[in-house]
């Protein structure tokens, strides 16, 4: 039998109609995640066409992008930043009720960022095809699932047919061997990968991360890595399931039990890429070479080691535009640049291990004067866990704000935003112009680096703060 990659195995198992020269493949979707921002027009389309939702039982909804992260008032009501956001959320509630879709609503114990709750409730499992109208759906690939973001028209297609029209993408292996140094995290690893291959480097490809450095990562770290696959242009990112995966999943609400669990694990084990399976392209990195990373520009590929120097102008218009926007001088370090805001959160770095990482540095210390630090857990489950460990108290004692779960300052749709011209160190995934608010200047970094920056009040090396 021909050796197959993890991706090819999952793809083949989900092809309802194979592709031909004239038509794309019809691919079955096992799990469809939806949220308030990219679904309303899709439900409207179904309504206009008189179509029902085919598999509400394979669809799961949450609200996260435009929801407030401040607790509800004494009346139990949440205060939205504006009426439009509230209306969007109201429509999601109505659409889910009408179609019988499970909704993890604001104010309930399971609400959170779609890419945080999928894994933690056990919906995201090896071998599944998972889609969502959100580019960071690649996160779920950490489980050895084929997970990718789709547009709203496609959300409509999946609601109506549970299928998508897809051409088979190419595959790319990103092999990372060796060991990460002290103070170097999964976030630094993926920023280093994107800096290496570029923001369009994996366009048209599904990435599989392999190598000893990936194997030693925990599930939450693997999620951080897969999450940012899209920032390299990748269609999806995946890691083959192993004992780390199974241990994480065992006992979660949506995961099978007993004999079914045993059978599931057995079949999940067979998903790993076969010996000798071929990838369309291969990139190798040595984990030992990776340092704590920070971005200096306006896309995630414009990243460098934290002690590095901003690259010189090279006649490239976009490079010049980015440095102009960021207000940074070419050839200079950004270490020591004063920061205004520190944000720990987002589907990249808002899980319990991320909060522990930040708390470890902040314990017994203070956020520097003049710096606003916001800590936003990825879900209500993460929030409760952090509170049971006393992390919220560490953050509060340090002078940081401890919030309710949501996307918050990652996308600045809910009123949490960075001011014009302000510098923010953020654990999120996008440093695009205006992403954290009009005129906001974002440095992407790990939770450890973010915490170190909060303490020093300027861009700082986490290895010196611990």
């Amino acid at each position: 039998m021909q050796a197959k990659t993890l991706f090819e195995k999952i793809w083949d198992q989900h092809v309802v109609q194979p592709e031909t020269t004239d038509t794309p493949a019809v691919l079955y979707v096992d799990l469809h995640l939806i949220h308030e921002v990219t679904s309303p027009q899709a439900f409207a389309l179904l309504r206009e066409s008189g179509l029902p939702v085919r598999r509400p039982d394979l669809t799961v909804a949450t609200m996260d992008h435009s929801t407030p992260t401040t607790p509800p008032g004494p009346d139990g009501l949440f205060v939205f930043s504006d009426g439009q956001a509230e209306e969007q959320v109201r429509q999601l509630v109505a659409n889910c009720a009408e179609s019988g879709i499970e909704l993890h609503e604001l104010g309930t114990g399971s609400q959170g960022i779609v890419h945080v709750i999928g894994p933690e409730l056990g919906f995201s499992q090896p071998g599944k095809t998972i889609v969502c109208g959100d580019s960071h759906t690649s996160t779920h690939g950490a489980f050895g699932a084929l997970a990718f973001g789709i547009g709203t028209s496609e959300v409509g297609h999946v609601l109506a047919t549970q299928c998508l029209l897809q051409r088979q993408p190419k595959t790319m292996e990103i092999q990372i061997d060796g060991q990460l140094g002290p103070g170097v995290t999964a976030k630094d690893l993926i920023l280093a990968v994107i800096a290496e291959i570029g923001v369009g480097g994996a366009t048209g490809h599904v990435i599989e991360y392999t190598g000893s450095a990936i194997r030693t990562l925990g599930m939450e770290e693997r999620m951080t890595v897969c999450n940012m696959s899209i920032e390299a242009g990748g269609r999806a990112g995946m890691v083959a399931p192993d004992d780390v995966t199974f241990e994480y999943l065992y006992g979660r609400p949506e995961v099978p039990e007993g004999l079914e669990w045993e059978q599931a694990v057995e079949s999940w084990r067979s998903l790993a890429s076969d010996e000798g399976a071929r990838f369309d392209s291969v990139v190798s990195l040595d984990a030992a070479d990776i340092e704590p990373m920070i971005t200096y520009g306006t896309n995630p590929g414009m990243a460098m080691p934290i002690r590095g120097k901003v690259p010189a102008l090279n006649g490239n218009h976009s490079h010049e535009q980015a440095l102009g926007y960021m207000g940074l001088e070419p050839g200079k370090q950004i270490l020591g640049t004063p920061v205004d805001v520190v944000f720990v959160g987002s589907c990249t770095n808002s899980r319990i291990s991320d909060l522990r990482q930040a708390a470890a540095l902040l314990e017994g210390r203070r956020v520097a004067d003049g710096v606003r630090m916001l800590v936003v857990p990825g879900s209500q489950v993460v929030k409760r866990q952090a509170e049971s460990e006393g992390l919220d108290q560490i953050f509060r004692d340090a002078g940081a704000e401890w919030r309710e779960a949501g996307c918050s300052m990652c996308i600045a749709m809910n009123g949490d935003q960075v001011g014009k011209g302000q510098y923010s160190v953020s654990t999120s995934n996008r440093n695009f112009e205006g992403r954290q608010g009009p005129g906001a200047r974002t440095f992407l970094a790990s939770p450890a680096t973010a915490a170190a920056c909060a303490i020093s009040g300027c861009v700082a090396d986490p290895r010196e703060a611990s």
Binding site: T38, G151, G200, G233
Partner: protein
């Protein structure tokens, strides 16, 4: 849902030289709070088009006289990267853009564009370079022949998925094709649950 068939058209083009233009620039997140797909042109490139008082910035290409009535946008490499928001092609279409030309277009944006009748055109560096240099002008987009024809007669072929091309040229929505697969889909579901 059907839309007017697309085959061949001649139009003015404008150039936005930046590379890696992400969908957050094409339409900032604050314009994503609506629940309809109409009227999004108002948010198109909002942070580049307008200053903080909402006044048009004269140095932004879409605000310049030659950009008026342009229906083709020529942009730098890797256009449409980032967020999966379909609001990006909706906003471009609402503004009157019918095709985007680049040397590389991000996957999700490309898929979203095709589903809405916005043509993603990937051309070779030489042709792209000529258009960047010209800054503006007229161009013929021929979907049937899959070729872009510049004013000086230069022809550049571009790839497009045959199925998407068929749908665009006949004004067909892809959902219809999927709905026709109902039997095969049900069969797959039976096999999985067995």
């Amino acid at each position: 849902m059907s839309r007017p068939p697309l085959a061949r058209f001649e139009a003015r083009f404008v150039v936005l030289e930046s590379e890696n233009v992400d969908t957050d620039q094409i339409i900032p997140a604050r314009y994503l709070k609506g629940t309809s797909r109409n009227g999004l042109g108002a948010g198109l490139f909002a942070d580049w088009r307008y200053d903080e008082n909402g006044e048009p910035r004269s140095d932004f290409v879409l605000n310049q006289p030659h950009a008026e009535s342009a229906e083709v946008l020529v942009a730098g490499h890797n256009f449409g990267c980032g967020s999966s928001r379909e609001h990006a092609p909706w906003a471009l279409l609402d503004h009157g853009i019918r095709a985007v030309v680049s040397t590389g277009i991000a996957d999700i944006f490309r898929a979203n564009s095709l589903k809405n009748g916005l043509l993603p055109v990937v051309v070779d560096h030489a042709t792209h370079g000529r258009m960047l240099e010209a800054g503006s002008g007229s161009v013929t987009v021929d979907l049937e022949q899959q070729v872009l024809i510049l004013e000086d007669g230069t022809r550049a072929s571009f790839p497009i998925d045959p199925f998407s091309r068929h749908c665009l040229m006949n004004g067909i929505d892809e959902l219809g094709f999927l709905l026709d697969q109902a039997e095969a889909i049900a069969e797959h579901e039976r096999n999985v649950s067995r």
